[in-house]
């Protein structure tokens, strides 16, 4: 059996080696840790969660990053892309809070698509292909600029925890060199490194991931895993996989379908968009290609099934993401399908390495080679480095508060894949939340930074994690949000930047100005549309069937005037259609500026729904803080079904809100239901009385 390491050895002789990645920015070392330094916050890990936590925490307090390999800070371990549907929303929100990911993604972007372009604005998802080196160095350059931020290359072996009268409190960390570094706030973002095991075929070896395109393994954090076990955290195993990397020079692109970039890539960074700047690498954008598996591929997948790894989780099957299945899983679960798409994504502008998206499956390297070669246009394609799976420990996030602080140990925060999520964007979003909260706590600021489900996907993500827990890797989908029409990629700044300013993490005056300008522009745009009115017959005449379709049926209606706002509410009419007409009719009219175009369109299109969602959001907010009338009498008469113990507790604590009642130990869920019903019934009968008095 060839190991991944021996294959690599083999590849030096048979395959052309890719150019070594440029040694990226050891300049991070300039701000390195000295033993005398003290920190408000320590962040363990330099992945996507870690980087965001570093960035947001360091705006609030002195922050130290401890990571195994400084050169790997900001590395994209798996697919070379950022964003997508749901995930793109998260990146925009991270950017609205002045995080790292959106800015870096724009600098590293070498191919961009707005997914769901033809569907409604709310479900559009920006997605960029990244040049791995450009992305990583962009992340590192952004972090380098941060004051208050220092780095230490090393591993954390243990946490220093003190038992106080009020429970456990974190006091710092102990590194692999035996050094104790003290801090009252520690954010753990170890990703797949906690108890990580790599697998390729039947071979298993300890590791958190492979160094990029290399047989070298980055060691797992096993000591830290033991620490969490000792602290009685609820720990489980999840797995994920990455496909082999291919030599692009050996792919017959001429045979394959091309997938180009959007002609007007908009990117992620709000400030850049506001200034109207194009993406920096636009002229060098790459093209992706598409191939597919076939019967032969599927036969191979099933034939070598017995050579797939045996996992710890799910009785040997491993608990992986259902929405990112291995090629084996796809073939096994959908035997009637005779092909699955495979997207070939170049890993950057100056590299021949290609990422075959959809082809993960940790068969032994020689089988992976056969599987790749069975596909169209790939007959001669060489694997540069085989794909592998990683199985790792995660901590059930039900043990966390909405601030991502652990419930049991004050000052200890978790963020990222360690909480059972998957994806760069999900990890980064948690990093922002944990980083801000740790930073606030370090400043003795009592506020908690919590994004509501009604404010952003970040809020949906965190709320889902901490209230429901995780049983499979959690990925963001737009369907997870009840308020999807309100939480759009186009209005992330309008939803969150102000909040970021209040909490001190958004300090960039350009970002704040951009927000204010856009707010004004959106208001102007919407009111212009309300003011502009034409007869239905005129809309018909100027806009053609598209705008007249629904009106033309009745000649009576033709003599009715309709505002541009009303016409735009029809699903198939676009803002550009309307503006074209408005410009002709009214020479003084200025179209909505490009940076607010989508927001104006969505605000109008969804206006009826947004109104309803606003009501839903309101009642959600209310029930969070549903006030319990102070004069409520907790007796048998009012609450015939409550347990005596619950009545006593309610009498004793007299909770102010339903949320407070929920936090009293001994109040049962059904007790809360009865309490909530009683409050609402009482409210209604009072309303009725008031109404009848009028």
């Amino acid at each position: 059996m060839l190991s991944i390491r021996s294959l690599r050895a083999l590849s030096t002789s048979t395959f052309p080696l890719p150019p070594a990645p440029p040694s990226s920015t050891p300049s991070l070392l300039l701000t390195t840790h000295t033993p005398t330094s003290t920190y408000g916050t320590i962040i363990i890990g330099g992945g996507h969660a870690g980087c965001e936590a570093l960035s947001s925490s360091s705006t609030l307090t002195e922050t130290l990053c401890i990571t195994q390999n400084l050169a790997q800070v900001g590395e994209l371990s798996c697919n070379p892309s950022i964003g997508g549907i749901g995930k793109g929303h998260l990146v925009r929100e991270i950017d609205a809070l002045d995080g790292v990911m959106g800015k870096a993604a724009d600098l590293g972007c070498c191919h961009f698509r707005m997914l769901n372009e033809r569907k409604g604005t709310a479900v559009r998802g920006p997605r960029g292909q990244m040049d791995r080196d450009l992305y990583k160095s962009a992340v590192q350059n952004i972090l380098k600029e941060k004051e208050n931020l220092k780095f230490l290359e090393g591993a954390v072996e243990d946490l220093i925890i003190e038992e106080t009268g009020e429970g456990k409190v974190i006091r710092g960390v102990i590194t692999n060199t035996g050094e104790s570094i003290l801090s009252s706030n520690v954010v753990v973002t170890t990703g797949t490194f906690l108890g990580g095991t790599l697998m390729c075929g039947l071979e298993r070896y300890a590791g958190g991931r492979h160094l990029r395109d290399s047989e070298q393994v980055e060691p797992p954090s096993n000591a830290l895993s033991q620490t969490f076990r000792k602290l009685n955290f609820d720990i489980g195993r999840l797995k994920t996989g990455t496909p082999p990397r291919l030599n692009g020079d050996t792919i017959d692109y001429d045979l394959l379908e091309k997938q180009g970039s959007d002609p007007n890539p908009i990117g992620f960074d709000h400030v850049r968009q506001f200034k109207g700047l194009r993406l920096p690498m636009e002229k060098d954008f790459i093209t992706c290609f598409k191939t597919a598996t076939n019967e032969q591929t599927h036969k191979l997948c099933l034939e070598y099934e017995h050579l797939l790894p045996k996992y710890d989780g799910a009785d040997g099957d491993g608990m992986g993401p259902r929405y990112c299945p291995s090629i084996y899983k796809k073939v096994q679960r959908f035997p009637e399908r005779n092909g699955h798409n495979c997207f070939l994504e170049p890993e950057g502008i100056n590299t021949n390495i290609v990422y075959p998206n959809g082809m993960s499956g940790p068969y032994p390297p020689e089988i992976q080679q056969k599987i790749i070669n069975s596909m169209y246009g790939m007959e001669k394609t060489e694997i540069i480095v085989p794909g592998y799976d990683v199985e790792y420990d995660f901590i059930n996030p039900i043990s966390l508060k909405h601030t991502l602080e652990t419930k049991d140990i004050a000052g200890l925060y978790l963020a990222g894949q360690i909480c059972g999520t998957t994806g760069y964007e999900e990890a980064a979003a948690q990093g922002v939340v944990a980083g801000i909260n740790a930073g606030l706590r370090a400043r003795n600021d009592d506020r908690e930074f919590i994004v509501g489900r009604d404010e952003g996907y970040i809020g949906v993500l965190v709320d889902d994690l901490v209230t429901k827990g995780v049983s499979e890797p959690y990925r963001m989908f737009t369907s997870r949000s009840e308020y999807r029409l309100s939480l759009r990629a186009d209005n992330a700044d309008l939803r969150l930047t102000r909040k970021g300013v209040e909490f001190g993490v958004v300090q960039d005056p350009e970002r704040v100005d951009a927000l204010e300008e856009r707010k004004k522009e959106v208001e102007r745009g919407v009111s212009e549309l309300e003011k502009f009115r034409l007869f239905v017959s005129e809309w018909n005449e100027k806009g053609g069937d598209k705008m007249g379709g629904t009106f033309s049926a009745s000649s009576k209606k033709k003599s009715v005037k309709k505002s541009a706002h009303e016409v735009l509410r029809m699903p198939h009419v676009t803002l550009s259609d309307i503006e074209e007409i408005m410009e002709v009719e009214d020479p003084s009219f200025t179209p909505v500026s490009l940076n607010s175009h989508d927001t104006v369109e969505a605000t109008v299109k969804y206006s009826a729904y947004l109104h309803r969602q606003e009501k839903d959001m309101d009642s959600w907010r209310k029930s969070q803080g549903l006030l319990i009338p102070p004069d409520i009498v907790y007796d048998r008469n009012n609450f015939p079904t409550l347990k005596e113990e619950e009545l006593q507790l309610l009498k004793k604590f007299r909770p102010g809100t339903l949320g407070d009642a929920n936090s009293i130990q001994g109040i049962t869920p059904q007790g809360l239901v009865y309490l909530q019903q009683f409050i609402r019934k009482r409210g209604r009968s009072r309303d009725r009385k008031r109404a009848s008095q009028k």
Binding site: R322, F334, I398, Y609, N662, S663
Partner: protein, 505 residues
């Protein structure tokens, strides 16, 4: 380290989670458990008991135990050679006090192993003789075994907590326990199983439909799935299912409010001119003096309501002020008339009592398109035989003539209004005849869901461009239905989605 550790969330947290799942369907109900929800001491561990039948003496009595200690307690109360019976099998049990070993009763015992029991926990029932001495003895023995007396409603709340009952079922259990008439009881019983089944099937249809539209949104442009790149195809299937569902809801909404009528009682209003004898009739119906009767016109001012069981249907019969206007009608009486008219407006059945003066001038006397369901000609003893109309019933409150006929006729009208509950139904009407909307709250939610589905149909025609709005309507519909059944979660949609589509790159 096996992945199964994931299942080891503490019971308390499980509870909160399932609670959150129930509440997730309702934004008003959603709770925000920002603070620690660590375990309450011994909540799950203790075993409770209660006398489940009415207080002694009675022929038989049932003492019920629920919790982990219930089967060990059965063993403590029986002799060493007693064999614990198989679940759901009655067996003879000689009961002794566990400490004094005094004999208590020779009764029957049956066990239910959790989760296959009412509460979801281990349950033991003692069927014993219903004398006070026996019942007190057994209860004392159970209590001395270390069990705790149940709080009110605790068996039900444990069942709810263990996911054995949905909110809907808890409600219908409440209806059953408080049912006053046989029809209410039949309705409550059918509610618990059949209705949940129907609502669940609606919910399933919606989840399926959502999984398709959500797949178009979240997975089509980036996915492996070629089906999803042709959204029209999937949309077509979804649309047909939704139309079918919408029609089902429509037919249930057009059930004449039968379920609510049975639950809340059929409102019967006695109306007519002053001094027609309405109060005399209500007194006869109620078999007691509830309304002051006098020969002075306008005696009744306020509305007097009595509860009657007519053919097993709860009826709320109201006596109202006689309808008249004019100078000699005082302020109080004219307020009484106003109220009378309002009650008549809201009544399900209007019974007009006609005295010797004919019909009231407000509603005219053409007798054609009015709201009167039954007309009663009172004072038959004072009338000439041929004076009586053929369309009504003639009675005399003085000599009792025709009273039986009135009750029979009124019962017929009432039963006609509420339909045939729980009885035989013809095969051709399968499904549509079941009364499933028994509460105002449920009707509101079904109506809202129905409206959302109508809007969905319009939007679906727009195709891909409006898929965001169309799926929003499905979400609204599922939330509304979820508020009745008490369970809906995005995870259900995702499960269905991953089953049907090969998603992921």
């Amino acid at each position: 380290m096996a992945f199964t550790t994931m299942a080891l969330v503490t019971p308390r947290i499980m509870t909160k989670t399932s609670f959150a799942r129930i509440l997730a369907s309702s934004p008003q109900l959603r709770l925000y458990s920002s603070s620690s929800s660590s375990a309450t001491a011994d909540f799950e561990d203790d075993t409770i008991y209660a006398l489940s039948t009415s207080s002694p003496p009675s022929a038989l009595a049932i003492v019920r135990l629920s919790g982990p200690e219930s089967i060990p307690t059965l063993e403590k109360l029986t002799s060493t050679d007693f064999k614990v019976p198989a679940p759901r099998k009655m067996s003879l049990a000689k009961l002794f006090h566990p400490i004094t070993k005094q004999p208590l009763d020779e009764g029957m015992a049956v066990i239910f192993k959790g989760p296959r029991s009412f509460t979801g926990e281990d349950v033991v029932e003692f069927h014993i003789h219903g004398s006070r001495g026996v019942v007190d003895g057994v209860i004392e023995a159970v209590s001395d075994s270390g069990l705790r007396a149940a709080e009110r409603g605790e068996f039900t709340s444990r069942a709810f907590q263990n996911d054995k009952l949905s909110l809907l079922e808890v409600e219908s259990l409440h209806s059953l326990l408080t049912s006053q008439t046989s029809t209410q009881r039949v309705l409550a019983l059918s509610t618990s199983s059949k209705v949940v089944e129907i609502y669940d099937s609606w919910r399933e249809t919606l989840i399926k439909a959502m999984s398709h539209t959500e797949a178009i949104i979240d997975f089509s442009s980036d996915s492996d799935n070629t089906d999803l790149q042709q959204p029209e195809l999937i949309y077509g299937g979804v649309l047909n299912n939704v139309i079918e569902l919408r029609k089902k809801m429509e037919s249930h909404l057009h059930d004449g409010y039968k379920g609510e009528l049975i639950t809340n009682g059929v409102k019967v209003c006695l109306t007519g001119l002053p001094n027609a004898g309405k109060s005399s009739i209500i007194n006869i119906l109620a078999s007691r003096d509830v309304s002051i009767v006098s020969s002075t016109p306008g005696t009744t001012r306020d509305v007097v309501t009595v509860q009657l069981d007519l053919g097993g249907v709860l009826c709320l019969v109201s006596d109202t002020a006689g309808l008249r206007e004019g100078e000699d009608v005082g302020e109080v009486e004219s307020e009484g008339v106003k109220r009378a008219l309002r009650v008549r407006e809201e009544a399900d059945i209007v019974v007009e009592v006609v005295g010797l003066d004919g019909r009231d001038s407000i509603h005219g006397d053409d007798g054609e398109d009015d709201d009167v369901d039954l007309r009663v000609f009172n004072k038959a003893d004072l009338r000439e035989k041929d004076e009586l109309g053929s369309s009504g019933i003639s009675i005399s409150c003085v000599n009792g003539d025709g009273v039986d006929k009135l009750i029979r006729k009124l019962t017929e009208v009432v039963k006609d209004r509420v339909g045939n509950v729980g009885g035989e139904k013809s095969e051709k009407d399968e499904g549509s005849e079941d009364i499933i909307i028994t509460k105002r709250r449920h009707r509101e939610h079904v109506e809202a869901a129905y409206e959302a589905l109508c809007r969905f149909e319009t939007l679906a025609i727009e195709g891909e461009a409006a898929v965001d709005l169309a799926s929003e309507e499905l979400r609204v519909a599922s939330v509304e239905i979820g508020r009745i059944v008490g369970r809906v979660d995005v995870e259900d949609v995702l499960d269905s989605l991953f089953n049907d589509f090969c998603v992921g790159k």
